[in-house]
Subunit: 387 residues, 2 copies
Amino acid sequence: MLDFNFQNETKIIFGKNSFDDLSKEISKWGRKVLLVYGGNSIKKNGIYDKVVAQLDKNQLIFEEISGVKPNPRLDLVLEGIDKARKSDIDFILAVGGGSVIDTAKAIAMGAKCNKDIWSCFSGEVFENEVLPLGTILTIPAAGSESSTTTVITNQDKGLKRAFSTEELRPKFAILNPETTFTLPQKQTIAGAIDIMAHVFERYFTNTENVDLTDRLCEGLLKILIKNIPIVLEEPENYHARAEIMWAGTLAHNGLLGTGREEDWGSHMIAHEISAQYDITHGFTLSIIFPAWMKYVYKTNTNRFAQFANRVWNIEIDLDNLDRTAMEGIFETEKFFKQIGAPTRLRDLNIHDEHLENMSHKCTMNGSVGNFIKLHQGDVNKIFKLAL
Amino acid sequence: MLDFNFQNETKIIFGKNSFDDLSKEISKWGRKVLLVYGGNSIKKNGIYDKVVAQLDKNQLIFEEISGVKPNPRLDLVLEGIDKARKSDIDFILAVGGGSVIDTAKAIAMGAKCNKDIWSCFSGEVFENEVLPLGTILTIPAAGSESSTTTVITNQDKGLKRAFSTEELRPKFAILNPETTFTLPQKQTIAGAIDIMAHVFERYFTNTENVDLTDRLCEGLLKILIKNIPIVLEEPENYHARAEIMWAGTLAHNGLLGTGREEDWGSHMIAHEISAQYDITHGFTLSIIFPAWMKYVYKTNTNRFAQFANRVWNIEIDLDNLDRTAMEGIFETEKFFKQIGAPTRLRDLNIHDEHLENMSHKCTMNGSVGNFIKLHQGDVNKIFKLAL
């Protein structure tokens, strides 16, 4: 186990009645709120009205930024920063999934910062004050509701980049599983894959002696594998939705990575697909992860065999650990297919015309990943395995 | 899954170099420190000198309260409160195990409170400011290093009682597994049992649809069952010590109880043994838990069968679930014996002379536990099963 620091101050407010404390929580931080959301879905399903009623209850004043799209874009962030400054906003409330929350975080970063905010996503130091923000999660996926990270796409440059700092952790995350009942199947599936991917990025490590976090990762994966098919059959199954929602937060709140080197190569590779083709994040992961696993598993066959055994209940074949490892990878790919996710680039009609360039962009700042450090040639081979 | 709120602000600083930031962390809160510790062990093993060197480095001023004993006592708490007031202390630093930390917490409660602090342990409302405190853990056991709780013994009244409030969460917890290398075997064993017991108190619930926290609980128990025998054979096995130490914190930081009704009946019963006979807390739990399990398992045989299967790898006998459940209980008791813990009152030369009175005291404020609500007669039967 490696040395680590871990602190997660986000207050989780979970359950059917979790909206009730919204205005009380916001009032700790100020009175002028910037409400950030996506499209019409929160108006159709009544969440918008509930939020406004809560804000009105305590006479909180609010402005809005709406229209956040998947793979959230820098231009809307800049618009939000402008509005936050002009309206002297105290607090940002994100109502939505990861794209909405990431947009809100980037606005929170920029509101009190005079430099070009994109420069921080390109590696420049960020030392400014961050506006406090809170979240009402409607799509369990990104884990952004209690994480330190925001991922933004610069559409002019064709780049999708992440930025992390402890100050970006939301002050609270309201998680009401009922808000996910009306999610389109596609978003439920893509979100669930994103959650599994967040566990994978931590689980596949060469750090030794990480028994405890291994078990936590395996536990999360097992409950996802059980509950994802249930919610696809029964979208209003509260308890299965609740398991997935809480797992989504825990998968990415920092706990599962304590004491271990994390990987994140697959996320970096997958981001290139989104940047090039504007594909839903989760579906880039269901394509890249099986290919990545096949490319890297021989680096640490034991770990992949343990994964096959503990997560997929495959008996360990001590005479052929490679086979056990590969069975776990095939089960993963099969599961993604079963729940209706693409597992090959061709499933999304993507062929090899841009792969070389995408591999170049992915590694332009150096290698990606830690399980194996992947250079341009490796990334290109992974893309080809995913064709 | 039940609705819940969860927030744990304690900063975990884990590993071999975790002492390095001590004075920086304290300096966020003030300059006058009250150092609370037990006996000579931290002087013998060099921890005291390291702490003092860190405090000196940033010119922090400190007073001391030492001599904390297991089942920490109210009189030392009162002495500490007096010293904290007279010296106008800003911050309390606990260096030790649960008894030391609980003493520090009770001092932190009392330093700015004018009423009799024991009254809060007897159910009176506590609404005062709490002094900030930090912890350097040397015994993985109580989980007090990031919990909301303190447990104090009023020796005059023969009562051991707990008090909880979010304000009691330490600001930081420094967890260096090396500090546990020199623990006497008895303390290692008793501490490990306390950790397992904290998981049991959450695991054995009648709340349904708690897949995720079930898996987290089972994961923790599995790594404890693996690593406890290792550290008893190899006291300086860093990695096994690290697994146990991190498990000890996670077992009691609130996470495992999210969304489920917790029990705590066994702890209440076990406290009576400590109050009457001044027995190490962990050893009262290794005696009471097997008896409690035998007394209650038929209330929810499925849960006990799941425990047997997932934690102890016992095959489920669908024709006789009771048998499967009982096998899990026997395995638990056998494990406690194997690691050298008492599992019967007679192992500590305790017989039935005070059991009636202890059962009365345990339930004088009402029934204890939630899995089954236990009244005086039930508690007495559990004591008898434990004879």
